[in-house]
């Protein structure tokens, strides 16, 4: 646990980490870079909501940097520095990719270009942050485990939140989300809700994935279920509602329809919540 702290990090190490970050940014952002609703949302969504969304993204980046940054961080200052570096990588990657795909061109106004790039930079910067973790060879798994243990229950909830947000954000912009909610009957919705909870529980505690959580000390099925699974599903639903609101999907829509959409989006969100603990 004294790990690398004593060895000064060199420019070369950092540059390699930065390279991985660019790789992660491209891989994680590709699905959304090639989704046309994302381009439209970039200029049609309310600027205030976009701003709030990006601020939350920076906060999540700082948290992710603590758990699994592209660098071995050990202080708030460095976590913030890592978060902004990931943000910059996200902006650069989205600008380059969007320009390459002719989604942004020179005859567009600045507001359109900035809106598109800003929205795409969210998944790209999360990808940049996870890039080192996913693509890196020698991870400091022990230090990460230690941090997760130290962070305790709050840390668990944070990771679930980050995972839920990333997954929900990946599917929420498409029209299909709304269409699915419209064509499902209440029974479909209820069944999907139950399946979300079951999968959330099973993925984390039962099936033997690597990085699987062991049940908390002395925890019975019931306490684990209430403390982690239900809390995780609650987070997934909240995040789903927040993402729908951010994209203006809840405007002038009946509460029952909103509930339907929240449950539908809650399915990928809870899968994200469950797997975040395994991925990070």
């Amino acid at each position: 646990m004294v790990h690398d702290d004593s060895v000064p990090e060199t420019n070369k190490d950092y540059a390699i980490g930065l390279g991985r970050a660019f790789g992660g940014a491209v891989i994680f952002a590709i699905p959304l870079l090639m989704t046309m609703e994302m381009w439209w949302l970039g200029f049609s969504m309310e600027p205030g909501r976009l701003l709030l969304f990006m601020s939350i993204n920076v906060a999540i980046l700082i948290g992710l940097s603590y758990f699994a940054g592209f660098e071995k961080t050990f202080s708030w200052k460095e976590d913030a520095m890592d978060a902004f570096a990931a943000f910059g990588v996200g902006i650069l990657t989205s600008t380059t990719m969007l320009a390459l795909l002719a989604v942004i061109t020179f005859d567009m106004t600045w507001s359109e270009i900035v809106g598109k790039v800003a929205l795409q930079s969210v998944p790209a910067s999360i990808g940049a942050m996870l890039g080192r973790k996913q693509l890196g060879g020698g991870q400091d798994t022990r230090a990460e485990e230690e941090r997760k243990a130290e962070a305790g229950y709050g840390g668990e909830l944070f990771l679930m939140l980050a995972g839920a947000l990333f997954m929900a954000f990946n599917v929420a912009p498409t029209e299909e989300m709304i269409l699915i909610a419209y064509q499902m009957s209440p029974w479909h919705t209820l069944a999907l809700g139950v399946l979300s909870i079951v999968l959330l529980h099973v993925l984390v505690y039962t099936v033997g994935f690597s990085g699987q959580e062991s049940r908390p000390e002395g925890g019975t099925f019931r306490s684990t279920f209430f403390h982690f699974t239900l809390a995780g599903y609650g987070i997934a639903l909240l995040i789903s509602f927040y993402v729908l609101w951010t994209f203006g999907r809840t405007e002038d829509v009946a509460p029952t329809e909103i509930a339907n959409m929240v449950v539908v989006l809650g399915f990928p969100a809870s899968l994200g919540a469950a797997t975040a603990r395994l991925v990070i």
Binding site: M1, V2, Y14, W40, S44, P47, A85, T109, S111
Partner: protein, 139 residues
């Protein structure tokens, strides 16, 4: 465990000096980009980003093509909010009533323009040729 923590803490002040310059550069540039993007969007949020669309259409170029005429136009949204499914309609007066042509543009963002074209069989280079946006949907 406690002892290890102590060793780690002792290293903290020293580690500040080990930050490579490339890290300062990367995070500094990142911070700068974040400030620019946040500033730009924040400025938009405060300045007329939500005024409803107002679309003016101007013909840029009219050319004779096989089977008639082609009019290239530019539709400019001078309002702050984006307009979706904008219907652009052109009318050329003829001896037995005007000839209409129309096209639907998917989106015109606020303060932005999109180009398109309309085809006519009659010559649109007349004084009574009209070109207008007929309607839009809120995205």
């Amino acid at each position: 465990m406690e002892q290890n923590r102590a060793i780690e803490n002792e290293n903290h002040p020293a580690s500040g000096n080990h930050i490579p310059w490339i890290e300062w550069l990367a995070s500094g540039l990142g911070l700068l980009m974040a400030l620019c993007v946040f500033g730009f969007i924040g400025w938009q949020a405060l300045h007329d980003a939500t005024s409803p669309p107002m679309i003016t259409v101007t013909a840029i170029e009219t050319t004779q093509v096989t089977g008639g005429y082609r009019v290239i136009f530019e539709a400019r949204n001078v309002g702050g909010a984006a307009a979706a499914q904008v219907r652009i309609e052109g009318a050329v007066p003829g001896s037995d009533g005007p000839e209409f042509s129309s096209v639907i543009l998917d989106y015109i963002p606020g303060h932005s323009a999109r180009k398109g074209g309309l085809f006519f069989t009659l010559n649109p280079q007349s004084e009574k040729f009209t070109l207008r946006a007929a309607g839009f949907a809120k995205p």
